[in-house]
């Protein structure tokens, strides 16, 4: 009522009930007519709204915080350079509590309440799997930065993309040859007992087998576990490489207990930095990791051969040479993953520009434009490196880094080629109707 009052300026002309009703009806008609007055306005200058499904609380909160910092840094640059299709980008954040049920609600909230153009940002695989059906039902493009194999598996739907970070299957396939050649062939795997861990379990074993190695034991650990010593006796004595990928607050305990269990007589360790994202590698108890190797998506520590783009990216996000916040050296980033937010936003920008995206009615065009992408060149928009995109499985492929813990730093000792991580696609989203 207050709106229509101002709009028609009824105060001057003298308000009767009839005119008021008419005004109301007209106002309602304007609101209901799609793309009429409001829309022509939006076309010119209204911001493109991106719903950011963030892990602000819950087990993923440390990741969520850095995903948010990276996203804000990228959006600032995009806006400073003129936005997308001449329109500024606005990020609307909703906390999903790192919870799949809440995640689905957040996607619905973005679509129906905030009326965002797309949804973006999620990391934890169970949240992605829980939210994807809602994105599909509401036909809102959903760009995740999750690294699980669920997108590439073809089991989600046509509205879900992962264009900024590689998936676990690709990661483990590409590092397996290096592990077999440099660390050992008899591998024991320790992984979290849920979807993300299963991706490792299912795809590392065949990959190492192809290199003449074998997985001698697989030890799943419940994600809520806080003490690990009791699992360690299950590690066979002839293990040459201990492959560990753990997520959550128990990680430091895990490493410490490994150290106490083995002492100096330890197998080679190969881990996924996921375990230690946002954790200082020089924390007490982590001495045991000295000399061990880690997968990193993007290196945490500045490397001697960093590109200009990588340096600019680090400065924009605000991380120093040790991968910690420039304002607080103790605030360690999730550098190995968060670059994915940056790169995904630039992929969204590219796809929106390619499709001439104007508003929610162009969402299907945006999906097709994203699927049509094939390559991303290394540069300011893709500081982690060049990438290949497979539009059929909505998944990007890129380089992986293997780093060694030396002198309290992670130094990259090997960088895989994009082809190392390629596999035969198992699905094709483009056959699904839009």
């Amino acid at each position: 009522m207050t709106d229509s009052k101002r709009f028609f300026d009824l105060g001057k002309s003298g308000l009767t009930r009839r005119t008021a009703l008419k005004g109301l009806a007209a106002g309602a008609g304007l609101m209901a007519a799609p793309g009429f007055v409001r829309y022509s306005q939006a076309q010119s200058s209204a911001p493109i709204k991106i719903g950011f499904q963030a892990h602000r609380t819950g087990i993923g909160a440390a990741y969520g915080r850095w995903y948010e910092k990276t996203t804000n840094a990228a959006v600032k640059l995009i806006n400073d350079a003129g936005g997308i299709n001449g329109r500024p980008v606005e990020i609307i954040v909703e906390d999903d509590g790192t919870d799949p049920k809440r995640g689905a609600e957040v996607v619905a909230k973005f679509a129906s309440q905030h009326k965002t153009d797309i949804v973006f940002g999620t990391l934890f695989s169970h949240v992605v799997v829980g939210s994807a059906p809602t994105a599909g039902e509401l036909k809102i493009p959903y760009y995740v930065v999750s690294e699980g194999y669920h997108v590439a598996s073809g089991k989600l739907n046509r509205w879900v993309f992962q264009p900024g970070i590689t998936d676990v299957r690709s990661q483990v396939t590409s590092v397996a040859p290096w592990v077999a050649a440099n660390l050992g062939k008899k591998v024991t795997m320790i992984y979290p007992d849920y979807a993300f861990g299963y991706d490792h379990r299912d795809y590392f074993a065949p990959a190492i087998k192809a290199q003449g190695g074998e997985v001698v034991a697989q030890i799943p650990i419940p994600p809520t576990e806080s003490s690990f010593t009791k699992y360690l006796p299950q590690i066979p004595a002839d293990t040459e490489v201990l492959y560990h990928v753990m997520v959550g607050p128990g990680v430091l305990t895990f490493v410490k207990e490994l150290g106490e269990f083995y002492g100096s007589n330890k197998p080679q360790l190969f881990g996924f930095i996921d375990s230690l994202e946002a954790v200082d590698i020089n924390s007490p108890g982590l001495e045991f990791l000295d000399g061990s190797h880690f997968w990193e998506g993007s290196p945490r520590y500045a490397q001697a051969n960093d590109s200009e783009a990588q340096k600019a990216y680090r400065a924009a996000v605000g991380i120093d040479d040790n991968g910690a916040s420039t304002t607080d050296a103790k605030d360690v980033s999730t550098a190995a993953h968060m670059f994915g937010c940056w790169e995904t936003l630039y992929v969204i920008k590219k796809a929106m520009e390619d499709s001439g995206y104007k508003g929610p009615e162009d969402r299907a065009k945006l999906v097709e434009a994203t699927e049509a992408l094939t390559e991303f060149k290394e540069g300011p928009e893709h500081p982690q490196g060049d990438k290949k995109f497979n539009g059929k499985i909505h998944q990007v492929f890129g380089h992986q880094n293997i780093s060694k813990v030396e002198g309290g730093k992670l130094n990259v000792v090997h960088r895989t080629s994009i082809e190392d991580g390629m596999y035969e696609p198992e699905g094709d989203y483009t056959t699904q109707p839009l």
Binding site: T57, R65, T229, P233, E260, A278, V279, P284, G285
Partner: protein
């Protein structure tokens, strides 16, 4: 690994779990027993203890043992003070009505948890143990600090037992537990006793947390597990029974250690829950509790 060393490791792990659990559950049991209320925020006092231990050890410089010793004293005191204030400001106002207290302590749980997230952050942060001594057994190595947790916990339990049964404060607490109205008639300041018991319960949880934090890190969501396990222990052991709490903690801790080493951690949780169900059906007052009056 052969059977015996495997069993030894499982038992050691179980004993460490039991030691921490016994202290935490004892706090819950005291509050449960004396005040007849369910403190759902108990796990958050545990978490606060750990978070404060981190804050104290990082503020103080010098040998880790010094910072740890200070944390072991100061952190429970702060937590006790917070608990005392919340008892005075919240629980007393709802007059210890059982339903209202549950809702009020759930509220406390969220307030404490979110404040921790806001001011401490989402990271898991380590605390250096007071000493790093690794005991090399013929089959595997074990942390000397973990063994010291068992000893420390046993000492603290003995101290609590002494306070409850051999001192005037303990007598007053037991009198209040036995019959609140009669105690009041005899001039016992029941309100102050409640405040003290609530604070003491929270302090026991905080001490347990300070002991465990060098091997487990402080994290703002760490309170949930101890809360659930403490409830299980208190139900099995019996309301307000010190002996029952300790025995139930040993039972749950050691069986959890052994079952999860030889079978699976999930089975250990299933069995613990099954024991709770059986106790509730066949002996609702708990193994060592007395029937409610």
């Amino acid at each position: 690994m052969a059977f015996f060393p495997h069993l030894l490791l499982a038992t050691l792990e179980g004993l460490v779990t039991s030691a921490v659990l016994a202290l935490t559950a004892l706090g819950l049991s005291l509050v449960f027993g004396v005040m007849r209320i369910v403190n759902v925020a108990h796990g958050e006092f545990f978490m606060l203890g750990a978070v404060l231990a981190w804050a104290i050890t990082t503020t103080l410089t010098g040998h880790p043992a010094f910072g740890f010793a200070v944390a072991l004293v100061v952190s429970p005191l702060i937590v006790g003070a917070i608990a005392w204030v919340s008892e005075r400001l919240v629980l007393r106002r709802v007059e210890y009505n059982p339903e209202a207290t549950i809702v009020a302590t759930i509220g406390l749980l969220y307030i404490i948890q979110q404040l921790a997230l806001t001011f401490y952050g989402p990271e898991a942060r380590p605390v250096a143990p007071p000493f790093n001594y690794r005991i090399q057994l013929p089959w595997f190595g074990y942390s000397g600090y973990k063994l010291s947790i068992i000893a420390a916990s046993a000492l603290l339990l003995l101290a609590t037992w002494f306070v409850l049964t051999r001192t005037r404060i303990g007598l007053v607490m037991r009198a209040t537990q036995y019959d609140r109205e009669t105690a009041q008639a005899f001039g016992i300041p029941v309100g102050r006793v409640y405040g003290a018991v609530f604070a003491l319960g929270a302090m026991l949880a905080a001490i347990a947390a300070v002991l465990i934090v060098p091997i487990q890190q402080a994290h703002y969501l760490m309170g949930l597990d101890p809360l659930l396990l403490s409830f299980i222990v208190v139900i099995i052991g019996g309301l307000g029974s010190l002996r029952g709490t300790v025995i139930a903690a040993l039972l749950i801790g050691v069986s959890d250690g052994i079952i999860s080493v030889f079978f699976s951690p999930t089975l250990a949780k299933i069995i613990a829950t099954l024991i709770v169900a059986m106790v509730l059906v066949f002996r609702p007052q708990g193994l060592f509790g007395t029937a409610a009056k």
